[in-house]
């Protein structure tokens, strides 16, 4: 067996090794935390909104290569997009990760994640950043966490 992987293609390994936009944003207008309780992935997403437009995006946190590469690409892709445009991307990515969206409908950078659709146990890692973006845009309350006791 050779040292290649169906899922860990070079683009994912690269975004994992050198994540883009991996920083705390001092002047963020929205800050949203996302956790994947079963895996322990956690990230904080920072957005600087300029009216309806995402002027800047960054993230911090710890997690696996999939969640990290996904957050890295996501923050790169949504910069400059409007809320509505970003929402479309969220839907597209969720579709990809669950095997519902055809590859051709997607920005090329995201296609590397097509492999997760065959790995239901990793879907949550891949979509965590996107879910968090969705919540941040909806300005809704927290993520998967319930009431503290």
């Amino acid at each position: 067996m050779t040292d290649t992987s169906a899922l860990y293609q070079e683009v994912i390994l690269d975004h994992n090794r050198r994540p883009r936009n991996f920083s705390v944003m001092a002047d963020a207008t929205v800050e949203e935390r996302g956790v994947n309780p079963l895996c322990g992935d956690e990230l904080t997403l920072y957005l600087r909104m300029d009216g309806d437009r995402i002027a800047d995006a960054s993230f911090q946190g710890s997690g696996c290569a999939i969640s990290r590469a996904s957050a890295s690409m996501m923050t790169s892709l949504v910069k400059g997009k409007t809320r509505a445009e970003a929402d479309v991307l969220v839907e597209q990515f969720r579709g990809l990760a669950t095997g519902r969206t055809a590859m051709d409908d997607l920005p090329p950078a995201l296609r590397a994640f097509a492999g997760v659709a065959r790995l239901p146990q990793r879907v949550k890692c891949a979509v965590l950043a996107w879910h968090t973006l969705h919540s941040a845009l909806a300005e809704g309350a927290g993520g998967a966490e319930g009431a503290e006791r």
Partner: protein, 404 residues
């Protein structure tokens, strides 16, 4: 009237062709399809779900999720996360009485149950009422054994926090007027907890339309495996209910001092789930759905009507509960002064299985004025011959005991 399904679907029944199994209200025999589904899970997709990061575990997780989907459809539940897998009806009802009750009942509050409850829907409420200093009220029964809704309407007040009642009585086969009870409860802001152990196997439950807040059932009474059951709840009440058991994957974050919880359904399912049990229950639901729950209900009504006629025609026999056409497939009776246990033993000598005793419903026995009853119950594998055998055996028993 022949059986609704081939006896050959059930190994135990086909290897015992003369067995007259009339105790399905206690537990139902298993079709091969149910055992095969569980074996297949163990032999092809077995792993701990939720916890593994490999394909086999993902398949186990998927089996569990799709079993939940099948069970949700069977019970008419749109929101699958509101189907909580439990150990059985007793576990489900204890969960509600403990977790909901401890959080919501206080001194001066009232808990109402009916006088026809199985111990599983009676004792947990009695005990939590004692613990919380709440009042425990027993709703009287109408002559046919159903909850006396007029009495109930006068009993309830703003202090009434919960009304727990059976959908179908395990002793009488009486079918409770669910929507009337729900209306009475809603009028005073009380929750409703419905024990569906004897309904789910026999009729389409349609949870979303039923209006109750909680619904409980056992897999083993509906062709499924032992050790599995469901608690179904409306999302608002489930979301507001504290966890019952803690551990495993029902958490979000476990701190040294505080813990936060996962979302439904996980929050209410602590520990490694019984995937095999859920798969077996789902297979049972599919088996029943393939027959059609209307056909199941019609078959049982027809059999029990016939049994009612044959048995109540005997001298010195008292049949409890509603007349033949208004009952689910359960017939409780007493024969002269023959003790039900003796009756059951005599029938057993002829290969006829009936149950005798208080049927875990001592409060109802007191209200019926008997110590015990004999009970015959019917399911999809029973036929007219089973009814004939029952009636003949009762006549013979009377002769042995020289009754009448």
């Amino acid at each position: 009237m022949s059986a609704l399904v081939p006896r050959s679907d059930f190994s135990l029944l086909s290897t015992n062709p003369n067995l007259v199994y009339l105790d399905s209200a206690a537990t139902a025999q298993k079709p091969r399809a149910v055992l095969d589904a569980m074996n297949d899970f163990y032999e092809t997709d077995y792993a701990n779900p939720h916890r593994g990061a490999y394909a086999l575990s993902a398949r186990a997780t998927e089996r569990y999720a799709s079993a939940r989907g099948a069970v949700a459809r069977f019970f008419g539940v749109g929101d699958e996360a509101c189907v909580i897998f439990t150990r059985g009806t007793t576990d489900s009802l204890n969960m509600v009485a403990s977790a909901w009750g401890r959080a919501n009942l206080g001194a001066g509050d009232e808990v109402i149950v009916t006088g026809a409850e199985h111990h599983a829907n009676f004792v947990p409420w009695q005990q939590i009422a004692i613990e919380r200093g709440a009042q425990f009220t027993i709703c009287p029964l109408a002559a046919d054994g159903r909850a006396d809704v007029e009495a109930l309407a006068t009993l309830v007040s703003g202090r009434t926090k919960v009304i727990a009642f059976n959908h179908v009585s395990n002793v009488l086969g009486a079918i409770n007027p669910v929507s009337e009870i729900v209306a009475i409860a809603r009028a005073v802001g009380a929750l409703t907890v419905c024990d569906g152990a004897q309904a789910a196997p026999h009729m389409f439950v349609a949870f979303d339309a039923l209006g109750v807040d909680f619904y409980a059932a056992s897999a083993h009474k509906m062709l499924g495996p032992m050790g599995t059951g469901v608690l179904i709840g409306r999302r608002e009440v489930l979301d507001a209910m504290p966890p019952y058991q803690t551990g495993g994957d029902m958490i979000a974050f476990v701190g040294d001092e505080r813990t936060t919880w996962n979302v439904l359904p996980h929050r209410l399912e602590a520990g490694t789930p019984n995937v095999a049990g859920a798969v077996g229950l789902a297979a049972a639901c599919d088996y029943l759905t393939a027959i059609g729950m209307d056909a199941v209900a019609a078959h049982e009504r027809a059999l029990v009507r016939l049994a009612y006629e044959r048995v109540s025609a005997l001298d010195d026999v008292r049949v409890h509960g509603p007349s033949g056409s208004e009952r689910s497939g359960v017939l409780s009776f007493t024969v002269g002064d023959i003790h039900p246990h003796d009756l059951a033993t005599l029938l057993d000598e002829r290969g006829i299985c009936i149950r005798a005793g208080h049927h875990c419903a001592q409060p109802l026995m007191r209200r019926l004025g008997v110590a015990a009853t004999a009970r015959a119950s019917f399911y999809i594998y029973n036929d007219e011959n089973d009814v004939d055998q029952l009636a003949e055996a009762l006549e013979s028993a009377k002769r042995v005991f020289a009754v009448a």
